[in-house]
Symmetry: C2
Subunit: 119 residues, 2 copies
DNA sequence: GGTATAATAAACCAGATGGTTGTCGATAGA
DNA sequence: TCTATCGACAACCATCTGGTTTATTATACC
């Protein structure tokens, strides 16, 4: 169990590793969007944006519903939950480091008082 | 502000998108490790593992302290916090979908009762 | 000094990624 | 029906990724 063989997480983290794809996710968090709507704010051609949506689909972050000639996309957030749960298992680490920083700041504060009297 | 220009998040999510690198993070969550210790459980050559550690360093997820001939690596969790906070902004979406599933299950349950009497 | 060990560096490779342009099919609307 | 629009698809390209092998540097130990 040393290595984390989890292609689901691979795909989700990879999907989130590109600013355009994160932008798409945020757009979809507001509500359903067609491909052209998703593509228009991105500084790239339509086919490029379309590829990004496919990457998000592969990560199961986006569902596509074809309605006539337009493809309506919506967010599927559960893979985000998986990603968050993975990172959350290290919560105590960043909390610990902030606690350490707090302690340091406390100590600096405590030393500042006597030093200002000494000086 | 349409596109998410955040190279920090790019690097963090990209760093987490590979099973070997997630395995390294988990190893470091237990405590400090040298490069050879990090590489040994991975099914790849040492230089390959070393490259993965560099990717993690670029994402500021790993700090390296050189001690004689060995490089001691430790976890810097704060970028994980950033990644988690980004995903967390969509929490209500997956909670909503689970709420919807709950509702669905409730409805199915409610319909099951009369149907089992009908059958 | 001589040898084993920790790690880097460089060269190389196959395949993935991220983008483009151009062509095509299907649907909506005049 | 004709035209505009939404989108897929394919080809192409440069660059990045993830891995290898080989050689090299620097430290530790006998």
């Amino acid at each position: 169990m040393v290595v984390d063989r989890s292609p689901r997480l691979d795909r989700v983290f990879h999907a989130l590793a590109h600013p355009a794809r994160r932008a798409i996710v945020r757009q979809l968090s507001v509500g359903e969007r067609t491909l052209t709507e998703l593509a228009s704010p991105l500084k790239m051609t339509f086919p490029a944006a379309s590829k990004h949506v496919r990457v998000l689909e592969a990560a199961k972050l986006v569902r596509r519903r074809i309605a006539g000639r337009e493809h309506r996309c919506s967010l599927r957030a559960s893979p985000l939950k998986d990603a968050m749960q993975w990172t959350e298992q290290f919560r105590r680490h960043w909390e610990a480091s902030f606690a350490a920083l707090d302690t340091l700041l406390e100590e600096m504060k405590a030393q500042e008082q006597p030093r200002s009297r000494r000086d």
